[in-house]
């Protein structure tokens, strides 16, 4: 399976994402620069990496979300392309309108950087099928703008449609309903603030992220 990682100016988890994808697919992902106008043919899964694209100017993820490659990814995601965004990647996906809601400044105004316990809300999704029902995982978080917000109607819909895949066990940022990760209506675009790509090697303190990649890769 050919995968790709999009690189924006000041992405900093692009390499982590690439290492994770290579480890789980046995094949190096393509690194695609944000100025490209089209994803290379044959790419089945795209990761929007963490980082501080464009220095978080204007709003986190805002400027990156308007880059040429994101327009192509957005169009292809509407036809089923699998996409995951972690941390800044999640911010980019919401700014691009590929996922609902917005990521605001953490409620306590602090940058949080720590291992975070997350509850698996459902295993009935392309991104969580390999996890055990009602289990907990630990992924690192490292963000300043991770406070997930959406209006009541959107939250109700996410809840009703089972589109909240991960919830914080101890909410670090003020996110509505402890939301840590969501999917789009089609179930093919996923975003979360924590970093599963940094939880794939025992030397880094845990491997709970592996099943997320296995889940989505298996569906391709």
């Amino acid at each position: 399976m050919q995968t790709a990682v999009i690189r924006f100016p000041a992405s900093n988890c692009d390499r982590d994402a690439a290492v994770a994808l290579e480890k789980l697919t046995g094949r190096k992902p393509l690194i695609v620069w944000h100025r490209e106008t089209e994803l290379p043919a044959g790419v089945g899964f795209v990761v929007m990496p963490g980082g501080f694209s464009y220095g978080d100017y204007l709003r986190s993820g805002a400027i990156a979300s308007r880059s040429p490659i994101v327009q192509d990814i957005k169009a292809k995601s509407e036809r089923g392309l699998a996409v995951a965004g972690f941390c800044n990647g999640f911010q980019i996906l919401t700014e691009a309108g590929m996922l609902p809601g917005a990521l605001m400044r953490n409620k306590n105004l602090k940058f949080v950087c720590r291992p975070e316990r997350l509850k698996i809300e459902t295993t009935d999704s392309r991104f969580t099928s390999k996890y055990e029902k009602n289990s907990e995982v630990i992924f690192p978080v490292a963000h300043h703008d991770g406070n997930y917000f959406a209006d009541k109607d959107v939250i109700n819909r996410l809840e009703k449609e089972g589109r909240i895949l991960f919830r914080y066990a101890e909410n670090p940022n003020g996110s509505v309903n402890d939301i840590a990760g969501i999917v789009n209506e089609g179930g093919n675009v996923f975003g979360m603030m924590p970093h599963p790509e940094r939880a794939i090697d025992p030397l880094h303190g845990g491997t709970d992220g592996i099943n997320l990649f296995k889940s989505i890769l298996e569906t391709l």
Partner: protein, 82 residues
């Protein structure tokens, strides 16, 4: 001409920075401060000559990039040189 774009959070959206500012002002003895909201101003210098057309263009800029209408409101002020 110039366009001033004022961007702020929509009513009902929690503004932790504004809240912290209000609390700090209270701590400094400005007890009359009940609430603070933090927003931003973006000043655009435009080559446009038609005010009305310029405003429509700036509105498009707000919708396309400058504001995130999920959480933010914006207001545009066109300033023409005397």
């Amino acid at each position: 001409m110039k366009a001033l774009v004022y961007i702020g959070l929509k009513p009902g959206v929690l503004d932790p920075q504004g809240r912290t500012i209000a609390r700090s002002l209270n701590d400094l003895g400005f007890d009359e401060v009940e609430n603070a909201f933090q927003g931003k101003i973006i000043e655009l210098t435009l080559s446009s000559t038609d005010t009305e057309a310029a405003e429509a263009r700036v509105k498009a800029m707000c919708e396309k990039l400058l504001a995130n209408t999920v959480i933010e409101n914006y207001r545009i002020e066109i300033v023409t040189a005397e």
